[in-house]
């Protein structure tokens, strides 16, 4: 695995480890975590990640507000969450230790950059005494390492100035952790060369720091053993590691190919959705046109224009952006044109917690427009699932000629998991035909085009795009007459059109409810979106403890599966963990009159398995 012979230390086998890298937001913790994840993925471990960063680009150095962290869990068995609590914390400064220590399991390992524990840094982090000396770390295994000094010494031979040398210390930490978990050296060396191509001194410095970290682990008599985590028995095939936002971008591109339509994205940058705009902007060779609009409204409006012209149109945003797009979505509902709105939910209201996840836009997706303007809603459950969810959202949009809301969140957006790559040829054909000719006749028997004559099966109207001879027609936000699409203020017609728009969405074909876990259980955990991993892990734990438990996870939230009411009515007790104040619970209660118990969390951090397990046990044991 590596060309450096390990020191004669016991090699201990572990089933899993949860490591959290934490440092200043300028310390490169995301990069370090990402790279450790990549090497582990290539070794065949299962893994899940949880990046956590402040909204500020560079919060004041050394302060709690500036701490950026990256948690990765690697295992030799299949996992669905990044772990409840880290067993290893790498803390690059006192602020990182202070912000993260409470998360670490008792007895966990704390690897520290001891050079950073200066009086000034301790003060900035709000420590009154040095935690390395005052007993704060009792109950943990702490490993103070002079990372700054050793890194400076290691890179000095390459002529790097001491101040610049500090920048390489994250690679020292990565080297050390790579040694601890017997990760190979070569992939990181290759990564450094590729990442910093053209900056030879930086490459040399980072390589030297990385090697120094690796060698330090091997030679310093600090660690009692190092560890091995065997590959996980995942289904065989080709894997890649993917974040939710990248999977969404790729899903959009795939949907374009599956529908044989050019892709248009109108977007205004907003955290945590901007990466989709970045990814798609780099895929112009797929015929993807991206438009960075002047505001959220123009982003949505441009998508409506592109859809009218026959493109597969998207707009990407987060909650506050959806609020701004609301009026335009009303128009899209009225025009009955296909488009997909991707909402990467974040904590709110208003600016709220821009980099933290929440699931509190469900009601807005469902009802957050003026008047009766129903929109289908699709929610992915894991980072890799974002790919399929994007295709599903496009399928519905195209087949039923409707705007669709895709609800992801900040957790799915930035975290990653191994993804067994799909066979492209097995993906569904979601193509639809444009209207090419007349679809009606006038009283003189001449062919005419009726832009609102519906397909009897789907209730979708024809999609006739500009450039098609004879089918010139006008659409608009004013209520239109059934079939002809002409302006109509007729009361009966309006009643009919409201009904037709609702009936079309209600009748969308979606897969039946899937019950995971024990299908014959009397207790069920109901969820949607990113809570899937934690619920799935909870179900496994409860089953191990001898409980029977079912798991229903909704991907289609509007319309819901046709059999959902019936399936849920079969359980005696249902709990529903959501990162909101009970929005799905309210929808389920209103629709099916079922007493679903809400389990809510809104602190910007995803549910842990332990939290859901506790709520489940309480519900199971309740009379």
């Amino acid at each position: 695995m590596t060309d450096i012979a390990p020191r004669e230390l016991p090699l201990q086998e572990l089933a899993e480890v949860v490591i959290r890298f934490a440092g200043d937001s300028g310390d490169g913790m995301q990069l370090t975590g990402d790279q450790f994840t990549s090497i582990s993925a290539a070794l065949g471990n299962d893994l899940a990640t949880l990046p956590e960063f402040p909204a500020e680009i560079r919060a004041p150095q050394g302060t709690l507000a500036g701490v950026s962290a990256f948690q990765v869990r690697i295992s030799d068995f299949a996992i669905t969450t990044p772990g409840d609590a880290p067993t290893v914390l790498v803390a690059m400064n006192p602020a990182a230790l202070k912000a993260q220590l409470h998360n670490v399991v008792q007895g966990g390992a704390i690897i520290l950059n001891s050079d950073a524990f200066t009086e000034r840094n301790l003060e900035k982090a709000g420590y009154e005494s040095n935690p390395l000396e005052d007993g704060s770390l009792d109950g943990y295994r702490s490993y103070p390492v002079a990372m700054s000094q050793i890194t400076r010494d290691a890179v000095a031979v390459h002529g790097v100035k001491p101040r610049d040398a500090e920048r390489s210390k994250n690679f020292f930490a990565l080297g050390l952790i790579s040694w601890m978990y017997t990760r190979p050296v070569e992939p990181t060396i290759e990564f450094i060369s590729a990442k910093f191509r053209g900056r030879d001194q930086v490459i040399k410095a980072n390589e030297a720091a990385f090697q120094a970290g690796y060698n330090f682990g091997e030679t310093a008599e600090l660690f009692e053993s190092h560890y091995e985590i065997k590959p996980a028995p995942l289904p065989s095939g080709e894997y890649t590691n993917v974040t939710g936002n990248t999977a969404l971008a790729w899903g959009c591109v795939a949907a374009g190919q599956l529908a044989r339509l050019p892709i248009f994205l109108g977007s205004y940058p907003i955290t945590p959705a901007s990466d989709i705009l970045h990814d798609l902007s780099a895929l112009k060779h797929f015929g993807v046109r991206t438009f960075q609009a002047e505001d959220e409204i123009a982003a949505a409006a441009s998508a409506v224009g592109a859809a009218f012209g026959g493109a597969l149109a998207f707009t990407t945003t987060s909650g506050p952006g959806v609020a701004l797009k609301g009026e335009t979505l009303g128009l899209a509902v009225s025009l009955e044109l296909p488009m997909v709105v991707i909402d990467i939910q974040r904590g709110g209201p208003s600016t709220g917690l821009p980099t933290k996840p929440e699931q509190a836009d469900l009601m807005m997706a469902m009802y957050g427009r003026h008047s009766e303007s129903p929109m289908p809603i699709v929610a992915p459950r894991s980072p890799a699932d974002c790919f399929d969810a994007a295709i599903e959202a496009c399928r519905i949009a195209l087949r039923y000629r409707t705007p669709v809301m895709l609800l992801s969140d900040g957790y799915l957006a930035t975290s990653s998991e191994p993804w067994l790559l799909p066979d492209i040829d097995s993906l569904p054909d979601i193509g639809v035909d444009f209207q090419r000719g007349f679809n009606g006749t006038n009283e003189d028997g001449e062919g005419i085009f009726l832009p609102y004559l519906r397909d009897p099966e789907t209730l979708a109207r024809p999609w006739a795009i500009p450039g098609t001879p004879d089918l010139m027609h006008r659409v608009g936000g004013i209520e239109k007459e059934d079939e002809t699409g002409n302006i109509s203020y007729d009361p009966e017609n309006h009643q009919k059109m409201v009904g037709l728009r609702a009936a079309k969405i209600d009748a969308i074909e979606v897969p039946d409810t899937e019950v995971a876990g024990d299908t014959d259980a009397s207790f069920c955990i109901l969820g949607w979106g990113s809570t899937w991993g934690a619920i799935d892990a909870t179900v496994a734990r409860l089953q191990e403890a001898g409980h029977k438990v079912a798991h229903v996870h909704l991907r289609n939230l509007n319309p819901m599966p046709k059999d959902l009411g019936e399936v849920l009515a079969g359980f005696e007790k249902i709990i529903c963990p959501e990162m909101n104040d009970g929005q799905l619970v309210n929808l389920i209660r209103a629709k099916f009159l079922l007493d679903v118990k809400a389990v809510n969390k809104m602190n910007g951090v995803p549910f842990t398995t332990g939290e859901i397990e506790a709520a489940a046990l309480a519900a199971i044991e309740a009379p």
Binding site: L234, E238, G266, H285, G309, T328
Partner: protein
């Protein structure tokens, strides 16, 4: 224009929808000018699209037998931008009033202009909100007494031509609803321009702001107050062309040619890269009671937005080949299990 007979007649460009503007509205003459112009442009109805926002003017698409969209208030330039990017092959017109374009949609208008999206924007300026029944608009004069400003409006008005020039517009023109030939000429020029073009049309709202433009557009006032800009010609007007526009200390002014001499009269150059002179001309009149220029203020070549977008797509295609989904999914490294 050629001698070959036109393939369509103005009536072919009309829909069967009843036109529902108030009788006597200036919009009728604009609609007629547009329908008369279309056969001459030798374009296909199916390749022509009218996009509008909300307001009286915004009903325009319903009356043109082309593709059309009556959108939402102010957003027409943004909708049209998406369409123009997705379909650079189309001929796209945007129609709106002063409320639609200068107020709620001001942001979209300036951005469409600076990007130079290939759309032709017609701004019907009647200096009043018509469809909402008579409130002051962003082009109304200060002190305008309306239902929402019983003691007079407080807001300084926009000058649409100045705004457009400030927003980097590559084609800016002005015309009025009392002169069909002039309207047709301005629309023709706007159509011929590659990129964003904007034409302000002085339009009479005979219900809520009747006669607002009379001071300059009424036949008997035109000699004194309407200045026709013609490229390459000295800017002269008056019953006997006795008046001219001069630049005095960086400001455009009206002067008697007898006083300043022929040589002092500004020769109009619509193709000037620098928009300063055009801007000075746009500031000549303080309101519709003083000599006011109409015609093409500015017409310069600048790369059109969708063309640039298309060439980036072609460049990416040349560099990376045709996008392959299989390789995309493998672009961040893979491993076998």
């Amino acid at each position: 224009m050629t001698d070959t007979p036109m393939r369509t007649k103005p009536a072919d460009w009309a829909t069967d929808q009843e036109v529902r503007w108030c009788p006597g509205c200036g919009d009728y003459s604009i609609l007629t000018a547009m329908r008369m112009l279309m056969p001459e442009l030798d374009v296909e109805r199916e390749n022509t699209v009218f996009i509008s926002g909300i307001g009286c003017a915004a009903r325009f698409p319903y009356y043109m037998n082309t593709y059309g969209m009556h959108g939402i208030h102010g957003r027409a330039p943004a909708i049209a931008t998406g369409l123009a990017m997705a379909r650079p092959d189309l001929d796209i017109w945007v129609v709106g009033g002063d409320g639609d374009m200068m107020s709620i949609g001001g942001n979209h208008l300036i951005h469409a202009l600076r990007r130079n999206v290939n759309i032709k924007i017609l701004l019907f300026n009647n200096m009043i909100y018509g469809l909402t029944k008579g409130q002051f608009s962003p082009t109304s004069e200060v002190g305008k007494v309306t239902k929402s400003s019983p003691m007079g409006s407080l807001d300084a008005p926009f000058n649409p031509v100045s705004v457009a020039l400030g927003a980097e517009a590559s084609f800016v023109a002005r015309t009025h609803d009392m002169d069909r030939e002039h309207m047709m000429e301005m629309f023709r020029r706007a159509h011929a321009h590659k990129g964003a073009s904007i034409v302000e049309v002085f339009q009479n709202c005979n219900v809520f702001n009747d006669g607002a433009w009379e001071g300059i557009t009424k036949k008997q006032n035109r000699n004194a107050n309407l200045i026709s800009l013609e490229h390459g010609k000295p800017i002269r007007f008056g019953a006997d062309d006795e008046l001219g526009v001069i630049i005095d200390n960086g400001v455009a002014k009206v002067a008697s040619i007898a006083d300043v001499g022929e040589a002092a009269v500004l020769v109009h150059d619509e193709g000037k890269t620098d928009p300063s002179t055009a801007f000075m001309l746009s500031r000549l009149a303080r309101g519709p009671f003083e000599p006011t220029p109409v015609g093409v203020f500015r017409a310069v070549d600048r790369i059109e937005y969708a063309t640039s977008s298309t060439s980036q797509l072609a460049m990416a295609h040349n560099e990376k080949g045709s996008g392959d989904l299989k390789s995309l999914l493998r672009s961040r490294g893979t491993w076998q299990v």
